[in-house]
Amino acid sequence: MSIVEGSARADGIVRTSDPRPDAKWARHARFAAWRFVLQRGSAAVLGLCVVVHLAGIVYAVRHGLTSEAIVARMHASAIWPSFYAVFVVVVAVHAPLGLRAICDEWLGWRGRGIDAVLALFACVLLAGGLYAVASLAG
C-alpha cells in the first residue's frame, strides 16, 4: 500500500509523513546503533579484562615475581597471550568510540572526517597492542 504524503486515503486516514525511513537515514541509524552495541559490548569485556589484569598485578607483587618470571609465563602458555590479545582488541574498539562521543559533545566534531581519523586511531591501537603481545609471547 502506498502512502501519499499529506493526503487522505480512501479509508479516511490522513498521514502527514511516510513512516518508512529513507535509505541514507537508515544507514546513519544502523551505524549509530552498532556503535552503541560495540561500545557497550566492548565495555563489558573490558571490565572483565581490567579485573583479571589487576588481579595479575596484585598476584605478581605479592609473590615477588620478577619481570623475567612474568615473561616466562607469557611464553609458557597460549592463555595469557590470548587474553591480552582480546584485551587489545576491545581497547581498539572501545577507545575510538568513546573519543568519538567526546569529539562530538565537547568539540562539535562529527562526520566522515573524524570517523576516518578515529578508524585510523583504532588501527594504530590494534597494531601496536598486538605487536606488543606478540613480542611478549615470543
Binding site: G12, S17, W25, A26, R30, F36, D104
Partner: protein, 241 residues
C-alpha cells in the same frame, strides 16, 4: 507564612536573551504559588510582563519556568517550598529561545517530537472495530506511566545533554517515541526506532536523570530512553533497523 503584610523580593527575567533580571516586591500571601507571584506583578506592578499559563492546576503544562535555578510548574510550586533565604528568582525555561520575559518559543521542543516520529501511525481504519489492548501485557505495562506526559518541557529544560548537544532529541520526545514503539496499534515501530537511533538520539543520553528528578508528574524519561536503547540495539543485531 500568611498575609502578614511582609513583602517578598522577587527577581524576574525581563526582555529576550539579552535581557536582565528586574526586582519586584510582592506581598506575601498564605499558600502563595510562584504563578500567583508572577500574576501579581503583571496585574498590579508591570502589565507589560509576558508569561504563559492556562489551567493553574497542573493539567496543561504551560506555566513551566525556571524557579531559583530549577525548571518547575509555577502553578504547583508554593513559594514557601522554594524560597532560598527569602528570595525568589524566576526566569524562562532553559534550552529554548526566549520570545520575551518568561515566554519561550516551544517550536524547537515540538519539532523534536516530530523528528522522533512522535505521531501515532494507525494500522487499522475507522471501519474496523476498537483495538483490544490487554492491560496486563508487558508492552502496555511498560507505558503505563509514560502515556501521562503532557509536554511541559520541564525535563527538556533540565537536561544537561540538550544543553551541550542542541540536536539531541531530549527526554520528552524520546519518552513519546518509547510510548508509541510499545503501542500495539501503531504501525511505524521500525521507522521510529531508526529515527531515535541517530547522533542526536537515545544513545546520546548520559543517564544523569535530571529529567526523572524534575518531572512534575514523577515520570521516568530516563527509563524510557534506556528502553529505547535496548530496543534499538536488539533491532540492529537482528537486522531490523
Amino acid at each position: 507564612m500568611s498575609g502578614d503584610g511582609s513583602m517578598l523580593p522577587v527577581r524576574i527575567w525581563r526582555g529576550d536573551a539579552g535581557g536582565a533580571f528586574r526586582r519586584y516586591d510582592v506581598p506575601r500571601r498564605a499558600s502563595q504559588t510562584v504563578l500567583d507571584v508572577v500574576t501579581f506583578v503583571q496585574r498590579h506592578v508591570d502589565p507589560s510582563l509576558a508569561y504563559r499559563y492556562a489551567c493553574r492546576v497542573g493539567m496543561c503544562g504551560s506555566c513551566a519556568m525556571t524557579v531559583n535555578g530549577k525548571a518547575r510548574w509555577t502553578c504547583r510550586t508554593h513559594v514557601d517550598a522554594v524560597t532560598a533565604g527569602g528570595a525568589l528568582e524566576i526566569a524562562p525555561l532553559n534550552h529554548l529561545p526566549i520570545v520575551r520575559d518568561l515566554v519561550v518559543d516551544m517550536a524547537p521542543f515540538f519539532d523534536k517530537w516530530a523528528k522522533a516520529k512522535g505521531s501515532f501511525v494507525p494500522t487499522a481504519t475507522r471501519r474496523e472495530g476498537f483495538a483490544r489492548v490487554e492491560p496486563a501485557s508487558a508492552k502496555r505495562r511498560a507505558i503505563d506511566a509514560t502515556i501521562e506526559c503532557i509536554g511541559c518541557a520541564v525535563c527538556y529544560a533540565s537536561c544537561d545533554v540538550v544543553g551541550w548537544k542542541p540536536d539531541y532529541l531530549g527526554p520528552a520526545a524520546l519518552n513519546r517515541a518509547f510510548t508509541l514503539v510499545n503501542d500495539v496499534r501503531d504501525g511505524a515501530g521500525a521507522a521510529r526506532l531508526g529515527a531515535v537511533a541517530g547522533d542526536g538520539g537515545c544513545q546520546a543520553c548520559h543517564t544523569h536523570q535530571s529529567c526523572t528528578e524534575r518531572c512534575p508528574k514523577h515520570l521516568a524519561p530516563t527509563a524510557s530512553i534506556a528502553g529505547l536503547k535496548r530496543l534499538v540495539a536488539l533491532a540492529a543485531i537482528r537486522g531490523r533497523l
